[in-house]
Subunit: 257 residues, 2 copies
């Protein structure tokens, strides 16, 4: 570990739960001298990635917000999905949240959210928050369309955590569940991420690969009422298909990872 990674390793320190780091602590963490740590910190500050904090130390800096803005405004998936997500709320209920997620490492990362205007409890998902890959409609709908290769291994690695929430989970039953999701083109879950909340998710494709999912998140009671009034499932499926179609039609350059 050397080379570019030094800068990146420093940045990663700030994803842990310590907000402010002294140059000395950074040096210790990377096992380099304090003067070297200062050299790096200086460059990171000049780039706006880090920001000196008054008492002592450094925190994440303002350039991060600029990068995030760029990402937000140029990502073809977000751009394509945004109006459709807004529309989804307007056509259903102002007490729901719609989230757009993608896979990232062994997690599902929320990359955009649209919130209904009426008061309702906040979602656990928010832009930039990673969630486990095996719990919740959002995750399962993505898993269901991932290449089967390596899935079981991943499942078994995470089985302990999954059992905490779904006591009767086995690989067999999980696999069957995924097949059903694949067939139906949506996934509905209750109380898997947060107690009393319902998730309803559908997949988004690019070039036949799954690249994201959109999900409605709402209270169980809201869902019951909504489902009686409207064909919610069809609406969500239609929205996700509309996004996939538009990505294809515009020939969007979508990240793969």
């Amino acid at each position: 570990m050397t080379m570019p990674s030094r800068v990146l390793a420093i940045m990663q320190l700030f994803l842990g739960d310590q907000r402010v780091w002294t140059a000395e602590a950074i040096g210790r963490a990377l096992d380099v001298s304090t003067s070297t740590a200062y050299r790096y910190v200086k460059e990171l500050c000049a780039a706006g990635i880090l920001d000196p904090v008054i008492g002592a130390g450094y925190a994440l800096g303002p350039a991060i917000m600029q990068y995030d803005y760029r990402l937000r405004e140029t990502d073809p998936i977000i751009q394509t999905a945004r109006p459709i997500m807004q529309n989804l709320i307007d056509r259903t209920d102002q007490r729901i949240d719609v989230i757009l997620c993608r896979r990232f490492r062994d997690c599902v990362l929320c990359i955009h959210q649209e919130n209904g205007r009426d008061p309702h409890p906040p979602t656990s998902y928010a832009r930039g928050v990673a969630m486990p890959l095996f719990l919740g409609a959002t995750s399962k709908v993505i898993l269901a369309h991932l290449p089967a290769k390596g899935l079981q291994r991943l499942y078994l690695e995470n089985e302990r955590k999954i059992r905490e929430r779904l006591s009767d989970a086995t690989w067999k039953s999980f696999k069957d569940q995924l097949a059903i999701i694949r067939r139906d083109g949506y996934c509905l879950t209750r109380s898997e991420i947060a107690e009393g909340r319902v998730g309803l998710a559908a997949p988004i494709f690019n070039l036949d690969q799954i690249v994201a999912s959109i999900s409605l998140v709402m209270e169980a009671s809201t869902f019951g009422e909504l489902n009686r009034r409207l064909p919610v499932i069809d609406i969500v499926r239609a929205s996700s298909t509309a996004i996939s179609d538009r990505l294809r039609d515009t020939g969007a350059e979508v990240a793969r990872s």
Copy 2:
């Protein structure tokens, strides 16, 4: 220019207006061999800062969103200001936007926004967007409290751009204006950033240094109406003071830069 800066230089490429870069183009831009460019790109992808794009090349990656989330959730100024900004909308009008900005290099960067729920034209400001340092209430209220040292030089460097919007601007008149803002503790501008829009800003301090400003942004007609109904200026000033006070009382570790 070498060292850490390579990684940072690559990242900066993505702040320009090209969203997707090939490894080869990156190599050319930094004047290094293609293989070196690939080495860096690989590390950046592993860190999630960059993301391979299907056709050809690399774009900003998902980790950016995680960093931004961290920043949003841990920045003491944002955390302190957020509820007060929401409250400000609720107590005034749902057709206004409230923005929180700080200085960043020779610009003013929006670091948080709260938008009224009722429909109204969008603000030019959004989280992560940098605005010129000499136009608009937001900027002027920050300028007015910056150490005088070097201000005139900065002003003269930017005079051309300022004149485009404010035809009668001179350093003398500008300086006088800043003195008035300092005395009054707020700044009100009309049509300086966007035609027909009013900005009303007040300063936020930490340890007697200006660290940010909050501003109301709204249509001129909304302001007229609002100002008749309520002491808006006093309300904004009180809000900004409340934020400064709370920062002091909690001993928040605020970035200085």
